[in-house]
Amino acid sequence: MTDASSTTTRPRLKVLAAMSGGVDSAVAAARAAEAGHDVTGVHLALSKNPKSFRTGARGCCTIEDSHDARRAADVIGIPFYVWDLAERFREDVVEDFFAEYAAGRTPNPCLRCNEKIKFAALLDKALALGFDAVCTGHYAQVIVRADGGRELHRAADMAKDQSYVLGVLDDRQLAHAMFPLGDTATTKEQIREEAAERGLFVAKKPDSHDICFIADGDTQGFLAQRLGTAEGDIVDESGDKVGTHSGAYGFTIGQRKGLKIGTPAPDGKPRYVLDISPVDNTVTVGPAESLDVTALTAVTPRWCGTAPQGPGTYTAQLRAHGSETPVAAEVVDGELRVEFAEPVRGVAPGQAIVLYDGTRVVGSATIAATTRRGVLDQGMSAPTAS
């Protein structure tokens, strides 16, 4: 298969550009076309009953977004299609989202979408139809080594870097991924200017922040609608009841707001969610120090290249917009064991940990259990293999 790593120095490729209707994917498609590739635009219909117009800060999934994408493709001068991947999206992303929350974990649906939809369902169909690569507006870089292997790196502009949500991509997926926005140190403002210069009217379209399939941005309401309400106890670390909640799934480890605990802690300090136990529908709260995580175990690792052998030191990122933290990591019995140089807070099972070697993405895994102050957490059910 032809090399899909760069938009500038490689032969003309048949490229399928995923176009959400937003500015990033429009400029990415335009750059790929300008680089001489044979680009076709595709908008993914991910909802069976899309709303007519955008509301709030969502990035896709409305008819208006579909029209925006089509309009951009017309300006770029590339063919454009809408593919219905709503059923796959529902199965692999939305249902997974519910199941993870129901199990007391905190999923990242964007990452799951990249893994299962954009670089699986979409990529597979693209390859079958004769395309060489899928192009997206992600800010990340694919670098080809001298030996022909591929590496995923952080975007040149660290502030916009999205390599975290691409950390799930394996070698084969990377071989057919094209990220035209990742290799230049462009700020979002410059991308908007470039879009305006190219005549793309999405130049001024607001950024998307929220989860695309939650129309009003109310994650708790969305979860409650599906998972129902189930009143349970909020307890402190000694097991004493300090409040009630209407569903354990509504909480994320490290969460402080919205606990609605009537009585303050004896020391008067704020309390945070420490544990979520869906089995007995209990949420445990406690002081910030108790959130300090010194180590974790993560499952179903995926490697950008070969799996590292033996122990090594890396930096790790634990959230989409989180900072880096130094770690020692090793694969033991197929699981990733990670020790933090300094304790970190707000680590939730279900989230992805992405390991970096400098700017290079080494791989990612799903956090299954954390160790706090030398004690392995109890009560964590293992995440479902994905």
């Binding site: 219909a45 063919p79 809408v82 369902a121 169909k125 139809l129 004769g130």
Partner: protein, 376 residues
């Protein structure tokens, strides 16, 4: 658009009078409109007084279906039954659905055979069930997707026997097969200018003089008080030119394009032996070929053929642009899986043997590839 129609349109853009006005510019404009009305009527076997100019095929369909329904129901409240074919264009189909949802209409969907054809016996049976409650019937003259031609004169005879007004959408039939309003005998007939080489945004409803549908648009009372609005004089003039040419050239066009189309069908069948021809193999529009390709997603084929320089269509798309299984193909009893892999090839005045050869070369590999990509 035909060059002659472009010339007429641009030439008449300088005629600025309002055809309803009494001043001299108005009289000049009205003369243009009335001559166009006469020419259009002549081309389609109607009287000039039976021509109602509209803003296009969709408006004509809506005016006929809703307007006749309202008029008949208002005259006799029992008349709330609409008899319709299930293979209609959305302009009719959705108007009928709207009447059912908002105006108390009961809809009888006529049975169609595997070619999508309504049989006169089935039509008669549907009416005879209770002729006294029928508001109107609507059956297209020829199907836009699968090309099947309906036995319109026979259907109109059945309707006349029971004194039921029959509307027919002849947008696809005009210019391809003989369309004669008086000879066929429906109560109302929809035409669209751009489908026969005229401008966009102009159409007509041929309407028997004894029919007074309730208007969709109220206003100045133009067009027999049935369709108000200042007339698009240049558009109407160009429509008439296009209509005369389309009718004058129809037989030759049908012969030439039919030959190409038959070659296309043979070539597709040779390249893809299990391709299923949609519509009547013989009694179909000369420019239409329609196939279902088992195991293929229609939009995959569309993408692959477009990349090979061949433009064709799937059934239809939803508002977001997702290709949908065609209601026409489903109505013929086709397997829903098969309905996902349908393509329509429409030929025109500019089609050549080279176009057919290009499709013959491209369709085999495209189907193979689309099958590999599967039904997602």
């Amino acid at each position: 658009m035909l060059p002659e129609a472009v010339r007429e349109l641009t030439g008449k853009l300088g005629v600025v009078g309002n055809a309803s006005a009494l001043h001299s510019a108005g009289r000049q404009a009205r003369r243009v409109v009335e001559e166009a009305r006469e020419r259009l009527a002549g081309a389609f076997g109607a009287r000039p007084s039976e021509v109602v100019f509209t803003g296009g095929g969709t408006e004509s369909d809506n005016l006929a279906v809703k307007g006749l329904y309202w008029a008949r129901r208002d005259a006799e409240p029992r008349r709330v039954r609409v008899i319709a074919s299930p293979v209609e264009h959305h302009a009719v189909l959705d108007a009928v659905h709207w009447l059912a949802e908002h105006e108390g209409a009961r809809v009888d969907w006529l049975p169609v055979d595997a070619y999508g054809r309504v049989h006169p016996e089935a039509f008669a049976e549907a009416i005879a069930h209770d002729p006294g409650d029928v508001a109107l019937a609507t059956v297209m003259w020829a199907n836009n997707e699968i090309g099947t031609v309906m036995p319109l004169a026979e259907l109109a005879a059945v309707a006349a026997e029971y004194e039921v007004p029959l509307h027919t959408d002849a947008v696809q039939a005009a210019g391809q097969i003989e369309v004669d309003f008086a000879a066929a005998g429906p109560a109302a007939l929809t035409l669209s200018a751009h489908k026969i080489g005229g401008p966009y945004g102009i159409g007509a409803l041929l309407l028997g003089r004894d029919r007074s549908p309730v208007p969709l648009l109220h206003g100045g009372g133009q067009e027999r008080d049935v369709r108000s609005g200042t007339l698009d004089v240049p558009g109407i003039a160009a429509f008439a030119v296009a209509a005369e040419l389309a009718v004058a050239r129809r037989e030759e066009f049908a012969r030439e394009v039919g030959k190409l189309r038959d070659g296309l069908i043979a070539a597709v069948r040779a390249a893809v032996p299990d391709a299923v021809l949609g519509g009547d193999p013989v009694d179909r529009l000369p420019a239409n070929a329609h196939f279902s390709f088992p195991g293929c997603e229609g939009d995959s084929l569309l993408l692959l053929l477009d990349a090979a320089g061949i433009q064709c269509s799937t059934g239809s798309a939803c508002t977001a642009g997702v290709a949908q299984p065609s209601h026409v193909v489903l109505a013929t009893g086709a397997d829903p899986e098969l309905a996902r892999g349908t393509l329509r090839f429409s030929l025109g005045h500019t089609s050549t043997q080279a176009d057919v050869d290009a499709l013959a070369a491209a369709i085999g590999p495209a189907v193979e590839r689309a099958r590999a990509a599967g039904l997602s």
